[in-house]
Protein backbone atom coordinates (compact mmCIF):
# COMPACT_ATOMS: atom_id res chain seq x y z
CA UNK A 1 0.00 0.00 0.00
CA UNK A 2 2.76 2.40 1.04
CA UNK A 3 4.93 1.23 -1.83
CA UNK A 4 2.16 2.04 -4.31
CA UNK A 5 1.67 5.47 -2.78
CA UNK A 6 5.42 6.16 -2.71
CA UNK A 7 5.79 5.27 -6.37
CA UNK A 8 2.62 6.99 -7.58
CA UNK A 9 3.25 10.22 -5.70
CA UNK A 10 6.93 10.35 -6.67
CA UNK A 11 7.98 10.38 -3.02
CA UNK A 12 11.29 8.65 -3.80
CA UNK A 13 12.30 11.52 -6.11
CA UNK A 14 11.47 13.98 -3.33
CA UNK A 15 13.23 11.83 -0.71
CA UNK A 16 16.32 11.93 -2.89
CA UNK A 17 16.52 15.72 -2.69
CA UNK A 18 15.62 15.76 1.01
CA UNK A 19 12.48 17.86 0.60
CA UNK A 20 10.03 15.47 2.30
CA UNK A 21 8.39 16.26 5.63
CA UNK A 22 9.82 14.31 8.58
CA UNK A 23 6.70 12.12 8.67
CA UNK A 24 6.95 11.19 4.98
CA UNK A 25 10.71 10.76 5.24
CA UNK A 26 10.33 8.21 8.04
CA UNK A 27 7.56 6.44 6.13
CA UNK A 28 9.76 6.17 3.02
CA UNK A 29 12.78 4.96 5.05
CA UNK A 30 10.63 2.32 6.74
CA UNK A 31 9.27 1.16 3.39
CA UNK A 32 12.80 1.04 1.92
CA UNK A 33 13.94 -1.09 4.83
CA UNK A 34 11.06 -3.50 4.48
CA UNK A 35 10.58 -3.74 0.70
CA UNK A 36 13.51 -5.12 -1.24
CA UNK A 37 12.11 -4.25 -4.68
CA UNK A 38 11.43 -0.66 -3.59
CA UNK A 39 14.99 -0.43 -2.26
CA UNK A 40 16.32 -1.74 -5.58
CA UNK A 41 14.23 0.89 -7.36
CA UNK A 42 15.68 3.62 -5.10
CA UNK A 43 19.23 2.31 -5.57
CA UNK A 44 18.78 2.58 -9.33
CA UNK A 45 17.35 6.07 -8.93
CA UNK A 46 20.34 7.11 -6.82
CA UNK A 47 22.77 5.57 -9.30
CA UNK A 48 21.15 7.49 -12.20
CA UNK A 49 21.08 10.64 -10.09
CA UNK A 50 24.79 10.35 -9.37
CA UNK A 51 25.57 9.55 -13.00
CA UNK A 52 23.61 12.61 -14.04
CA UNK A 53 25.50 14.70 -11.47
CA UNK A 54 28.88 13.61 -12.86
CA UNK A 55 27.61 14.33 -16.36
CA UNK A 56 26.59 17.82 -15.29
CA UNK A 57 29.74 18.40 -13.21
CA UNK A 58 31.52 21.72 -13.47
CA UNK A 59 35.12 21.73 -12.33
CA UNK A 60 35.57 24.32 -9.58
CA UNK A 61 38.66 26.56 -9.71
CA UNK A 62 41.68 25.01 -8.00
CA UNK A 63 41.69 27.85 -5.49
CA UNK A 64 38.56 26.43 -3.81
CA UNK A 65 40.37 23.29 -2.73
CA UNK A 66 43.39 25.33 -1.68
CA UNK A 67 41.12 27.56 0.43
CA UNK A 68 39.41 24.50 1.93
CA UNK A 69 42.76 22.91 2.78
CA UNK A 70 44.02 26.18 4.22
CA UNK A 71 40.92 26.59 6.36
CA UNK A 72 40.95 23.01 7.65
CA UNK A 73 44.67 22.87 8.29
CA UNK A 74 44.45 26.14 10.24
CA UNK A 75 41.58 24.86 12.34
CA UNK A 76 42.42 22.53 15.23
CA UNK A 77 42.16 18.84 14.58
CA UNK A 78 38.63 17.56 14.47
CA UNK A 79 37.39 17.63 18.01
CA UNK A 80 36.75 14.21 19.36
CA UNK A 81 33.66 14.22 21.56
CA UNK A 82 35.50 13.67 24.83
CA UNK A 83 32.48 14.38 27.04
CA UNK A 84 30.66 11.07 26.57
CA UNK A 85 34.02 9.27 26.50
CA UNK A 86 34.96 10.76 29.88
CA UNK A 87 31.56 9.83 31.30
CA UNK A 88 31.96 6.28 29.99
CA UNK A 89 35.53 6.12 31.31
CA UNK A 90 34.28 7.40 34.69
CA UNK A 91 31.63 4.72 34.87
CA UNK A 92 34.13 2.07 33.80
CA UNK A 93 36.57 3.25 36.49
CA UNK A 94 33.83 3.33 39.11
CA UNK A 95 32.71 -0.13 38.10
CA UNK A 96 36.32 -1.37 38.19
CA UNK A 97 36.95 0.10 41.66
CA UNK A 98 33.62 -1.24 42.95
CA UNK A 99 34.41 -4.67 41.52
CA UNK A 100 37.89 -4.62 43.06
CA UNK A 101 36.46 -3.53 46.43
CA UNK A 102 33.75 -6.20 46.27
CA UNK A 103 36.39 -8.79 45.38
CA UNK A 104 38.46 -7.69 48.38
CA UNK A 105 35.42 -7.88 50.65
CA UNK A 106 34.56 -11.29 49.28
CA UNK A 107 38.12 -12.52 49.90
CA UNK A 108 38.00 -11.14 53.47
CA UNK A 109 34.67 -12.83 54.06
CA UNK A 110 36.10 -16.07 52.66
CA UNK A 111 39.11 -15.81 54.97
CA UNK A 112 36.92 -14.99 57.99
CA UNK A 113 34.61 -17.88 57.18
CA UNK A 114 37.55 -20.26 56.81
CA UNK A 115 39.05 -19.03 60.08
CA UNK A 116 35.70 -19.42 61.82
CA UNK A 117 35.31 -22.92 60.42
CA UNK A 118 38.80 -23.82 61.65
CA UNK A 119 38.05 -22.34 65.07
CA UNK A 120 34.77 -24.24 65.19
CA UNK A 121 36.50 -27.51 64.31
CA UNK A 122 39.21 -26.77 66.87
CA UNK A 123 36.65 -25.95 69.54
CA UNK A 124 34.70 -29.09 68.74
CA UNK A 125 37.86 -31.18 68.99
CA UNK A 126 38.70 -29.55 72.33
CA UNK A 127 35.18 -30.05 73.52
CA UNK A 128 35.28 -33.72 72.48
CA UNK A 129 38.64 -34.13 74.25
CA UNK A 130 37.30 -32.41 77.38
CA UNK A 131 34.17 -34.52 77.25
CA UNK A 132 36.25 -37.64 76.78
CA UNK A 133 38.54 -36.59 79.66
CA UNK A 134 35.53 -35.83 81.79
CA UNK A 135 33.96 -39.21 81.05
CA UNK A 136 37.28 -40.93 81.77
CA UNK A 137 37.85 -38.97 84.96
CA UNK A 138 34.28 -39.56 86.08
CA UNK A 139 34.63 -43.22 85.33
CA UNK A 140 37.97 -43.40 87.15
CA UNK A 141 36.63 -41.45 90.11
CA UNK A 142 33.70 -43.79 90.18
CA UNK A 143 36.11 -46.71 90.01
CA UNK A 144 38.27 -45.55 92.92
CA UNK A 145 35.33 -44.35 95.02
CA UNK A 146 33.47 -47.63 94.91
CA UNK A 147 32.40 -49.19 98.25
CA UNK A 148 34.69 -52.23 97.74
CA UNK A 149 37.81 -50.32 96.76
CA UNK A 150 40.81 -50.73 99.07
CA UNK A 151 43.30 -47.87 98.87
CA UNK A 152 46.88 -48.90 99.53
CA UNK A 153 49.85 -46.55 99.91
CA UNK A 154 53.29 -47.74 98.86
CA UNK A 155 56.21 -45.74 100.36
CA UNK A 156 59.71 -45.93 98.96
CA UNK A 157 62.46 -47.81 100.87
CA UNK A 158 66.04 -46.63 101.36
CA UNK A 159 66.65 -47.06 97.61
CA UNK A 160 64.04 -44.39 96.83
CA UNK A 161 63.09 -42.71 100.09
CA UNK A 162 60.87 -39.98 98.60
CA UNK A 163 58.76 -42.32 96.45
CA UNK A 164 55.07 -42.71 97.13
CA UNK A 165 52.37 -44.50 95.14
CA UNK A 166 48.68 -45.01 95.87
CA UNK A 167 47.01 -48.18 94.57
CA UNK A 168 43.23 -48.76 94.47
CA UNK A 169 42.28 -52.45 94.50
CA UNK A 170 38.72 -53.66 93.96
CA UNK A 171 38.49 -57.44 94.31
CA UNK A 172 34.81 -57.48 93.38
CA UNK A 173 35.39 -55.80 90.05
CA UNK A 174 38.89 -57.32 89.66
CA UNK A 175 40.45 -53.91 89.06
CA UNK A 176 43.68 -52.22 90.09
CA UNK A 177 44.42 -48.49 89.49
CA UNK A 178 47.45 -46.55 90.68
CA UNK A 179 48.35 -42.90 91.09
CA UNK A 180 52.04 -42.62 90.27
CA UNK A 181 52.42 -38.87 90.76
CA UNK A 182 54.51 -39.45 93.88
CA UNK A 183 57.26 -41.47 92.06
CA UNK A 184 60.51 -39.61 91.39
CA UNK A 185 61.51 -39.30 87.72
CA UNK A 186 63.88 -41.93 86.26
CA UNK A 187 66.51 -41.80 83.50
CA UNK A 188 65.12 -42.58 80.03
CA UNK A 189 66.73 -46.05 80.16
CA UNK A 190 64.75 -47.05 83.27
CA UNK A 191 61.11 -47.60 84.18
CA UNK A 192 59.03 -48.50 87.20
CA UNK A 193 57.31 -51.88 87.01
CA UNK A 194 54.67 -53.31 89.37
CA UNK A 195 54.40 -56.95 90.43
CA UNK A 196 51.94 -59.10 92.40
CA UNK A 197 53.28 -61.78 94.72
CA UNK A 198 51.20 -64.94 94.33
CA UNK A 199 52.42 -67.80 96.48
CA UNK A 200 56.03 -66.59 96.18
CA UNK A 201 55.92 -65.92 92.46
CA UNK A 202 56.13 -62.34 91.16
CA UNK A 203 53.52 -61.74 88.39
CA UNK A 204 53.90 -58.75 86.09
CA UNK A 205 51.14 -56.12 86.46
CA UNK A 206 52.57 -53.56 84.03
CA UNK A 207 54.98 -50.64 83.84
CA UNK A 208 54.36 -47.24 85.45
CA UNK A 209 54.95 -43.77 84.15
CA UNK A 210 55.69 -41.29 86.90
CA UNK A 211 53.44 -38.23 87.26
CA UNK A 212 50.27 -39.96 86.08
CA UNK A 213 47.12 -39.61 88.08
CA UNK A 214 45.45 -42.93 87.48
CA UNK A 215 46.91 -45.88 85.60
CA UNK A 216 44.86 -49.08 85.20
CA UNK A 217 46.98 -52.17 85.80
CA UNK A 218 46.42 -55.88 85.39
CA UNK A 219 44.47 -57.41 88.32
CA UNK A 220 46.10 -60.58 89.54
CA UNK A 221 44.01 -63.14 91.46
CA UNK A 222 45.19 -64.22 94.88
CA UNK A 223 47.89 -61.57 95.07
CA UNK A 224 49.38 -61.32 98.50
CA UNK A 225 51.38 -58.16 98.06
CA UNK A 226 52.10 -55.39 95.54
CA UNK A 227 55.73 -54.61 94.67
CA UNK A 228 57.50 -51.89 92.67
CA UNK A 229 60.91 -52.42 91.05
CA UNK A 230 63.09 -50.31 88.78
CA UNK A 231 63.62 -52.13 85.48
CA UNK A 232 65.17 -51.37 82.07
CA UNK A 233 62.94 -49.20 79.83
CA UNK A 234 60.15 -51.28 78.32
CA UNK A 235 59.82 -53.53 81.33
CA UNK A 236 61.23 -56.90 82.36
CA UNK A 237 59.93 -60.48 82.37
CA UNK A 238 61.21 -61.07 85.88
CA UNK A 239 61.62 -58.60 88.68
CA UNK A 240 65.08 -57.38 89.62
CA UNK A 241 64.82 -57.96 93.32
CA UNK A 242 67.83 -55.75 94.02
CA UNK A 243 65.89 -52.87 92.55
CA UNK A 244 62.78 -53.29 94.68
CA UNK A 245 61.84 -49.82 96.00
CA UNK A 246 58.50 -50.46 97.69
CA UNK A 247 55.96 -53.11 98.59
CA UNK A 248 52.73 -53.45 100.54
CA UNK A 249 50.80 -56.46 101.86
CA UNK A 250 47.22 -56.68 100.59
Amino acid sequence: MEKKRILEEGLLEQYLTGELSMENQLMVEKALNEDKSLKEHFDQLEADFEKMAFEQAIEPPIGVKAALVHKLEKSPAKQVQWGPLWVAAGFALLFGVATFWMYGQWQNAERSLKSLQEQTVNLKERMDALESDYILTSSQLKDINGPHVIPLVLYGNQKSPGAKLVAYVDHNRKMVMVNSQGLPPLPASKTYQMWSDVEGEMINMGTLSPKEELIPLKYIEKAESLNITIEPAGGNDHPTVEELISNVII
Binding site: E9, E46, E50, M52, E55, Q56, P60, V69, E73
Partner: protein, 187 residues
Protein backbone atom coordinates in the same frame (compact mmCIF):
# COMPACT_ATOMS: atom_id res chain seq x y z
CA UNK B 1 23.87 -0.98 -4.86
CA UNK B 2 25.11 1.83 -2.61
CA UNK B 3 28.21 3.84 -1.80
CA UNK B 4 31.18 2.16 -3.46
CA UNK B 5 33.83 0.34 -1.45
CA UNK B 6 36.54 2.98 -1.98
CA UNK B 7 34.17 5.68 -0.77
CA UNK B 8 33.29 3.59 2.30
CA UNK B 9 36.98 3.37 3.17
CA UNK B 10 37.41 7.12 2.68
CA UNK B 11 34.34 7.84 4.81
CA UNK B 12 35.68 5.58 7.55
CA UNK B 13 38.99 7.47 7.51
CA UNK B 14 37.10 10.76 7.45
CA UNK B 15 35.07 9.71 10.49
CA UNK B 16 38.38 9.09 12.27
CA UNK B 17 39.45 12.66 11.53
CA UNK B 18 41.65 12.04 8.47
CA UNK B 19 41.60 15.27 6.45
CA UNK B 20 43.37 13.60 3.51
CA UNK B 21 40.25 11.43 3.07
CA UNK B 22 38.14 14.59 2.78
CA UNK B 23 40.44 15.96 0.08
CA UNK B 24 40.11 12.72 -1.87
CA UNK B 25 36.32 12.88 -1.60
CA UNK B 26 36.59 16.51 -2.71
CA UNK B 27 38.55 15.46 -5.78
CA UNK B 28 35.84 12.98 -6.69
CA UNK B 29 32.66 14.89 -5.88
CA UNK B 30 33.49 18.61 -5.95
CA UNK B 31 32.70 18.92 -9.70
CA UNK B 32 29.29 17.24 -9.32
CA UNK B 33 28.40 19.37 -6.29
CA UNK B 34 29.78 22.57 -7.78
CA UNK B 35 27.63 21.89 -10.84
CA UNK B 36 24.56 21.88 -8.60
CA UNK B 37 25.57 24.87 -6.46
CA UNK B 38 26.60 27.09 -9.38
CA UNK B 39 23.40 26.36 -11.29
CA UNK B 40 21.39 27.20 -8.18
CA UNK B 41 23.04 30.49 -7.23
CA UNK B 42 24.40 31.49 -10.67
CA UNK B 43 27.28 33.37 -9.11
CA UNK B 44 30.76 31.88 -9.34
CA UNK B 45 32.31 33.59 -6.31
CA UNK B 46 29.34 32.73 -4.15
CA UNK B 47 29.21 29.16 -5.50
CA UNK B 48 32.88 28.69 -4.64
CA UNK B 49 32.29 29.85 -1.06
CA UNK B 50 29.24 27.59 -0.80
CA UNK B 51 31.20 24.60 -2.14
CA UNK B 52 33.84 25.20 0.51
CA UNK B 53 31.13 25.53 3.17
CA UNK B 54 29.54 22.30 1.94
CA UNK B 55 32.78 20.37 2.40
CA UNK B 56 33.35 21.87 5.82
CA UNK B 57 29.85 20.67 6.78
CA UNK B 58 30.71 17.23 5.39
CA UNK B 59 33.87 17.28 7.53
CA UNK B 60 32.04 18.22 10.71
CA UNK B 61 28.91 16.09 10.17
CA UNK B 62 30.32 12.91 8.65
CA UNK B 63 29.37 10.94 11.79
CA UNK B 64 25.71 11.55 10.87
CA UNK B 65 26.07 9.91 7.47
CA UNK B 66 24.40 6.50 7.35
CA UNK B 67 25.52 4.44 4.36
CA UNK B 68 22.52 2.11 4.73
CA UNK B 69 20.18 4.99 3.88
CA UNK B 70 21.83 6.01 0.66
CA UNK B 71 24.89 6.94 -1.32
CA UNK B 72 27.44 9.43 -0.11
CA UNK B 73 26.73 11.64 -3.11
CA UNK B 74 23.01 11.84 -2.24
CA UNK B 75 23.87 12.91 1.32
CA UNK B 76 26.45 15.43 0.12
CA UNK B 77 24.01 16.74 -2.51
CA UNK B 78 21.39 17.44 0.19
CA UNK B 79 24.01 19.37 2.20
CA UNK B 80 25.04 21.39 -0.86
CA UNK B 81 21.41 22.06 -1.81
CA UNK B 82 20.37 23.14 1.69
CA UNK B 83 23.51 25.25 2.21
CA UNK B 84 22.83 27.05 -1.07
CA UNK B 85 19.10 27.49 -0.37
CA UNK B 86 19.89 28.90 3.10
CA UNK B 87 22.34 31.34 1.57
CA UNK B 88 19.79 32.42 -1.05
CA UNK B 89 17.14 32.82 1.68
CA UNK B 90 19.50 35.02 3.70
CA UNK B 91 20.03 37.22 0.67
CA UNK B 92 16.27 37.42 0.16
CA UNK B 93 15.84 38.40 3.81
CA UNK B 94 18.36 41.22 3.33
CA UNK B 95 16.27 42.67 0.52
CA UNK B 96 13.17 42.52 2.76
CA UNK B 97 11.45 39.77 0.86
CA UNK B 98 8.49 38.57 2.89
CA UNK B 99 8.02 35.40 0.87
CA UNK B 100 9.35 32.22 2.44
CA UNK B 101 10.05 30.43 -0.82
CA UNK B 102 13.40 30.97 -2.39
CA UNK B 103 12.27 31.17 -5.96
CA UNK B 104 8.72 32.44 -5.59
CA UNK B 105 9.55 35.82 -7.04
CA UNK B 106 12.36 34.69 -9.27
CA UNK B 107 11.60 34.10 -12.88
CA UNK B 108 12.91 30.86 -14.32
CA UNK B 109 16.05 31.85 -16.14
CA UNK B 110 15.77 31.54 -19.86
CA UNK B 111 19.17 32.87 -20.82
CA UNK B 112 21.68 31.09 -18.62
CA UNK B 113 25.46 31.41 -19.05
CA UNK B 114 26.93 28.85 -21.41
CA UNK B 115 28.93 26.92 -18.78
CA UNK B 116 25.97 26.27 -16.53
CA UNK B 117 23.62 25.00 -19.22
CA UNK B 118 22.66 21.39 -18.77
CA UNK B 119 24.67 19.07 -20.96
CA UNK B 120 25.09 15.42 -21.95
CA UNK B 121 22.14 13.08 -21.72
CA UNK B 122 19.90 15.78 -20.26
CA UNK B 123 20.09 17.69 -23.52
CA UNK B 124 18.53 14.74 -25.31
CA UNK B 125 15.40 14.93 -23.17
CA UNK B 126 12.26 16.63 -24.35
CA UNK B 127 12.29 20.31 -23.29
CA UNK B 128 9.58 19.96 -20.60
CA UNK B 129 11.35 16.91 -19.11
CA UNK B 130 14.66 18.74 -19.21
CA UNK B 131 13.07 21.72 -17.50
CA UNK B 132 11.51 19.60 -14.76
CA UNK B 133 14.87 17.93 -13.96
CA UNK B 134 16.69 21.25 -14.06
CA UNK B 135 14.25 22.88 -11.65
CA UNK B 136 14.22 20.19 -8.95
CA UNK B 137 17.77 18.89 -9.17
CA UNK B 138 19.82 21.86 -10.38
CA UNK B 139 17.93 24.94 -9.29
CA UNK B 140 16.79 23.85 -5.85
CA UNK B 141 13.07 24.07 -6.45
CA UNK B 142 10.78 21.84 -4.44
CA UNK B 143 8.28 19.86 -6.47
CA UNK B 144 5.61 22.26 -5.23
CA UNK B 145 7.56 25.34 -6.36
CA UNK B 146 8.59 23.74 -9.63
CA UNK B 147 5.08 22.77 -10.81
CA UNK B 148 3.97 26.33 -10.11
CA UNK B 149 6.96 27.72 -11.97
CA UNK B 150 6.16 25.51 -14.95
CA UNK B 151 2.46 26.25 -14.70
CA UNK B 152 1.38 22.58 -14.73
CA UNK B 153 -0.50 20.56 -12.06
CA UNK B 154 1.67 18.88 -9.39
CA UNK B 155 0.73 15.39 -10.59
CA UNK B 156 1.68 16.26 -14.16
CA UNK B 157 4.97 17.74 -12.97
CA UNK B 158 5.77 14.61 -10.97
CA UNK B 159 5.13 12.46 -14.00
CA UNK B 160 7.46 14.73 -16.03
CA UNK B 161 10.21 14.01 -13.49
CA UNK B 162 9.50 10.25 -13.50
CA UNK B 163 9.44 10.10 -17.30
CA UNK B 164 12.62 12.15 -17.55
CA UNK B 165 14.44 9.84 -15.13
CA UNK B 166 13.13 6.80 -16.99
CA UNK B 167 14.42 8.25 -20.26
CA UNK B 168 17.79 8.98 -18.66
CA UNK B 169 18.03 5.44 -17.40
CA UNK B 170 17.45 4.15 -20.93
CA UNK B 171 20.16 6.49 -22.24
CA UNK B 172 22.64 5.37 -19.59
CA UNK B 173 21.80 1.72 -20.26
CA UNK B 174 22.38 2.23 -23.98
CA UNK B 175 25.66 3.97 -23.22
CA UNK B 176 26.71 1.00 -21.14
CA UNK B 177 25.84 -1.36 -23.99
CA UNK B 178 27.88 0.76 -26.41
CA UNK B 179 30.80 0.87 -23.99
CA UNK B 180 30.62 -2.89 -23.57
CA UNK B 181 30.50 -3.33 -27.35
CA UNK B 182 33.53 -1.06 -27.85
CA UNK B 183 35.52 -2.90 -25.18
CA UNK B 184 34.58 -6.28 -26.66
CA UNK B 185 35.58 -5.09 -30.14
CA UNK B 186 38.91 -3.78 -28.87
CA UNK B 187 39.64 -6.93 -26.89
Amino acid sequence: MGTDFRDIQLIERLTNGDKAALYQLYDKYSGALYGVILRMCQNEAEAQDLLQETFIKIWTNISKYDATKGRFYTWAYRIARNTTLNSLRSKNDLIQNDDLGVYDTKAVEENEPEDILLKGSLQKLEPHHQKAIALVYYQGYTHQEAHEAMGVPLGTFKSYVRQALKQLRKTYANEMIWLWFIFETMA
